[in-house]
Symmetry: C2
Subunit: 448 residues, 2 copies
């Protein structure tokens, strides 16, 4: 399956437009299909001396059926054999800036060999957990490396930095699996923190949500529909929520994925109480995905446009969280995931209302994280960039094309890319990921 | 004085190029000249009910000779009289997302009237200092508003969010002055935290560094030369440091600003000791500005290119900090300011070495901040975007033009814009600003 840009560039005007602005054809991105191996080729694993993660990640990957080739520090040559599909580097042994050259020594000889849709993953120690300022400085420097590499390598190769709190080594598996797999096709240039938490041993990595109950708002179409599909694929029973006017689409989505439809206006005064009643046996995963836009420049924006956007995208979520937590509707070990947006990070002209609401979602996730942690639960946000939906299809062609191409994948993402990221947060294996905001934007150039 | 882009668009090929890519002529930016009033027109000041800053900032501005018009909450009309040059809104009274509509109510009727090179400043409470998650969420939402407004308003108008820790209200003056003045011409879309600190009463806001000793590395040209000029203008005696091969340029810069030249290779093994010896009577302001690039894609980068960039841009600064702090060369109340870069925030292809070093500078500043605070001192970083220097002049025209235009000011910045930001950090009035990274990028679209 090709995305719409790829469809476009196979038409005559599309080819003309692409050539006109000097755009190459975007690479095909490897995405996950059930039954696929974790990664279709070997992983080269290396590390700076005295790192604490090589010895954990190596056996972890081998047990997952991945061909792992371990490389000692300061290897100047790349090992022979099949083209690597991932370069994973444990940088936790780096305690001073002088030692950062180990990144160069590991990656420079190998980076060109990485297969299309390959993966670069650097593992580090969160600067706030470092022993001294020299170590914190060197560890913070890693971010400049992974973000630059993501912009440089192209060919659908993603690049990420994963900060692992000391003691949380075993909890890194769900994240390493996500990042190496096709599930993270459109996630690049991210910094992800894995903290300490009790991580239950996984039963089946292909159905981590078996037996769980999930709720998805805004489920009738677009990104919400894709989230329903992926959570159901991963084993969850999904309660699909959307406004009553979308009830027939909602019923179709629910039926297609063996879930149930629950039409509800999340902004209604009694919506939180109604949800609590409907979910009285409890919920494991709650996805705040309902969202609206009412774009206008600030000078032309009436108060109604401001208020509906803030209410749907932010306040209604806060009110629902109150019952999820206050009335223990969210089960122990539960997950809340909210949809933020690139606009909430970088701001966007004509969207002061939308960007304010989506920046607020980031605040909500960060400020609620300690409360969730105390219940063995988590709350996180996805921040989509340019994702091919009905909403983005309505953007004028040239602006749409610029939005699509201004990222390291040189194409728009798909709703499933956001959904896979939600599912990774929702997984029992991701208990150590809390208060995080992960962009699903192909490493968009736009940011804060 | 016009910048080089403006010179370019007055030539025939320049006009052709600008029209070709649909670029309007960039606005002229108001910059500060000694003797200028703080701001050339009235400031409209408003706030949500129960805010704690209107009553501090109003008298502060009035005492500084600014015409302040206070506006009650939910004012639907803009006051009559001259065009406002700034809209300042105290959002500290906002404790729930429903109250964010106060932003709309204050700004929507007035935003179009703001004069060119006008200012939008929103004052908030740092989310980490809020009483509960609802307040933290609403306060974090402010960032989406100011970043969107900065991208929307244009005409050289800047937009910032200033988070003021409860109790630090009186310490906000240096920051409010900086943001309203022409000193911050190229600073927009920033989030600045003002924390609690003992702020000495200012003697003369035009010469805040009178009697102080400052050191600037990389002082022979470009941004470093501009920093020397601004610190000297503000009253400091400046010790100008650069490599011995630039000694003659360095001597000229020092002479032009009444400072002294001190040729030194900051990467030399004995450089920190030599500096400590040279500065044995102490230093008040140390500016780590020396920096080099050695661009190559990672696959083509030799270890030497990596090492020199990391050494000059990061490790040498760490080694000098060791003597500044370990041997008490930095006087009580001292300031360290380091030059990071947009590349250190967003990453940049072909600059894995440079971006790693500049991301490390951010780590250095953040991790050293508590140590500095314990001495009544601060450490902060500026992160320049596209600034017109010899370095950027070497970029090929089309890429250079894109870099210049992809920001809310639609033009490149000048070295003095970075220098003014350094001087604001260096000011005794900025004692509450510590561990911050402020971009001088005209609100570049590029970010993380």
């Amino acid at each position: 399956m090709r995305d719409r840009y790829q469809q476009l560039v196979t038409t005559a005007p599309g080819r003309f437009l692409a050539r006109r602005v000097g755009l190459p054809e975007p690479p095909h991105l490897r995405r996950h299909t059930p039954g696929d191996p974790l990664i279709p080729g070997p992983v080269i694993l290396g590390g700076a001396p005295a790192g604490r993660l090589v010895k954990v990640v190596g056996p972890m990957l081998a047990a997952a059926g991945v061909a792992v080739r371990e490389l000692g520090p300061r290897a100047e040559e790349r090992p022979g054999g099949a083209r690597p599909h991932a370069l994973v580097f444990d940088a936790t042994g780096i305690t001073r800036s002088e030692q950062l050259v180990a990144l160069h020594d590991f990656f420079a000889p190998q980076v060109r060999a990485v297969a299309p849709s390959g993966r670069i993953v650097v593992l580090g120690t969160p600067p706030e957990h470092c022993a001294d300022t020299r170590e914190a400085t060197a560890q913070r420097a890693l971010e400049g490396f992974t973000r630059s590499t993501g912009k440089e390598v192209r060919r659908g190769v993603t690049s990420q930095l994963v900060y692992v709190t000391p003691g949380a080594e075993e909890g890194v598996e769900s994240t390493v699996r996500f990042l190496l797999s096709g599930r993270s096709a459109y996630v690049s240039g991210q910094v992800i923190r894995v903290g300490s938490a009790e991580v239950p041993p996984p039963d089946d990595w292909e159905r981590p949500l078996a037996g769980k109950v999930a709720v998805v708002t805004g489920a009738a179409r677009g990104i919400g529909e894709a989230i329903v599909g992926v959570l159901a694929r991963d084993g969850a029973h999904v309660v699909c929520v959307d406004v009553p006017s979308a009830a027939s689409e909602l019923a179709e989505v629910a039926a297609a994925h063996g879930g149930e439809a629950y039409p509800l206006d999340v902004t209604a005064a009694d919506a939180p109480a109604a949800l609590a009643g409907h979910l009285r046996s409890g919920v494991d995963v709650f996805v705040h995905n309902a969202g609206v836009t009412r774009d206008r420049t600030l000078a032309k924006m009436d108060a109604a446009r401001w208020e509906i956007v803030l209410n749907v995208n932010l306040t209604s979520e806060e009110r629902i969280n109150d019952v999820l937590l206050g009335e223990n509707v969210l089960r122990p070990g539960g997950r809340i995931v909210a949809t933020s947006s690139m606009a909430g990070i970088a701001g966007n002209p004509g969207q002061t209302n939308y960007a304010t609401s989506k920046a607020g979602v980031i605040g909500m996730v960060r400020s609620l994280a300690p409360t969730l942690a105390s219940r063995g639960s988590t709350i996180n946000a996805v921040a989509p960039g340019f994702v091919e939906t009905r909403m983005t299809a309505a953007i004028p062609l040239v602006i749409r094309e610029a939005g699509r191409r201004m990222n390291s994948m040189t194409q728009g993402g798909r709703p499933i890319d956001v959904a896979e990221t939600v599912a990774w947060f929702a997984s029992p294996g991701s208990a150590g990921i809390n208060g995080e905001v992960v962009r699903v934007c192909g490493q968009s150039l736009l940011g804060a």
